[in-house]
Symmetry: C2
Subunit: 267 residues, 2 copies
């Protein structure tokens, strides 16, 4: 059972994991250095613990203790208890649903283990927005995708905002980083996947046609701004587009990925 | 041609339209009272002016004057020119791509005129998040939907954030408010639309089946949190779901609407 510790001073050094949550750069640095990540909200905290991530500590207002009793039961980590207003002065903003946990990251699995038995996977090249990463995980999970692979420059799925938007599906969906950017797609092709790059390239075919008949599909998404790199666009087996009405630039990457996942799941 | 006015004082009263853009409640009040809305970013400003909205004024850093020369050419409204850093101290945050315009709202068209000739329309009951409203407009436009109808409590498509996320499609897509919430869906049915409510209700059928064979479809979306009201859920002709993998709660409303629009467009 977690040890309940009442804290009355927002400057208490034991709360270091929870400081300045709105400062993305500072958080990235702190979380990488200490190998931690933060979960926010009762449901997300519960899912992180249930997925086997080891809690370093919890921070919550008293009214969340009951609802999270199951998550607190199986750990010796401290649970810092503070009034909601004081929590805000630690984190620097209004905490969504008043419960937080700091948890240990785990070593990332190998690409091979993530791909084992997978039929449909997402490959994200350079999605830099945490909201989009979270939304893509959530849509992929909803559509029954088996795994997500991230290029080195893709944003962190365990960043607080990604986790929240993903509704915790980053805990249940297997994912890892690709060690090699340049040959990532040819390597997937060699492993038996048809790599389908979502793009606005002139030779792109409708995504329905691109995925038709493919036993194993790797759906490849580029950045929000400039799309896929030329290398990835060219080294994919197929280039696909979501057919759009004339005069509209494009869908946003979260909407496009939801549609592409839906179509791929039904191939 | 807009009159260029250099402004050096962030407290200049002529900049009243641009104050405190992050304060949603204050902005709602100010924009309703003065019948204005704000467009942000070169592309969005250009689209607002091109769509025929009358500018009250512009506010931009000098480097945007050339790029927006076409939008400035056709109006007598003043264009306030300020260094980017000073613009930030007016608006209260970093202005995306340094160009803003304040424009006059127009009277909303009648429901009948918006529906004339329409084959596929979106009906939003209570989408309260401006980002989601914008994303739904963008996806609807991309999928060739003809119009959007908003229940009285749906968030404003001309709020700055909605416009930005919609990439200006709120200017090209016909839309209006429904005057009557209670009988909105039966009225649409009488007008020849098959109303298809997206829901997690137990009797919901896959959306592909729900829209199959319908000549005119009104796709009905509820709120981010609790979904559709019982009245709308019951008064729709059909209840539809996007089939999902077991164990996943749901898609977010922007992802769900993108998929549903895609499927409806291909019926």
């Amino acid at each position: 059972m977690a040890e309940l510790v009442e804290v009355t001073d927002a400057d208490d050094p034991r709360l270091a994991d929870y400081r300045d949550l709105r400062d993305v750069e500072l958080r990235k640095h702190l979380e990488a250095e200490h190998g931690l990540f933060l979960a926010e909200g009762e449901k997300v905290v519960r899912r992180a613990v249930a997925a086997g991530y080891a809690p370093r500590s919890f921070l919550m207002a008293p009214r969340w203790l009951d609802g999270l009793a199951d998550s607190l039961a199986g750990t010796d980590a401290p649970c810092y208890v503070m009034p909601e207003a004081l929590i805000e002065s630690v984190t620097g903003f209004h905490v969504h649903r008043g419960a937080l946990a700091s948890l240990e990251r785990r070593p990332l699995p190998s690409v091979a283990s993530v791909l084992e038995g997978a039929r449909s996977v997402l490959v994200l090249e350079e999605i830099v927005d945490h909201t989009n990463v979270g939304a893509i995980f959530r849509s992929g999970a909803a559509m029954g995708f088996d795994a997500v692979l991230l290029a080195p420059r893709c944003a962190d799925p365990l960043y607080r905002r990604s986790i929240k938007v993903a509704m915790g599906t980053v805990f249940s969906m297997p994912w890892t980083r690709l060690p090699d950017w340049y040959d990532a797609l040819p390597t997937l092709s060699s492993a038996g996947f048809t790599t389908v790059a979502l793009t606005l390239a002139p030779d792109a075919v409708p995504v329905e046609d691109a995925v038709a008949g493919a036993a194993r599909v790797a759906l490849v998404l580029g950045s929000e701004g400039h799309g896929l790199s030329p290398r990835w666009e060219e080294s994919a087996d197929r280039r696909a587009i979501i057919p759009m009405a004339p005069g509209v630039d494009s869908l946003n990457v979260a909407a496009a990925s939801a549609v592409a996942c839906y179509v791929t799941a039904r191939r």
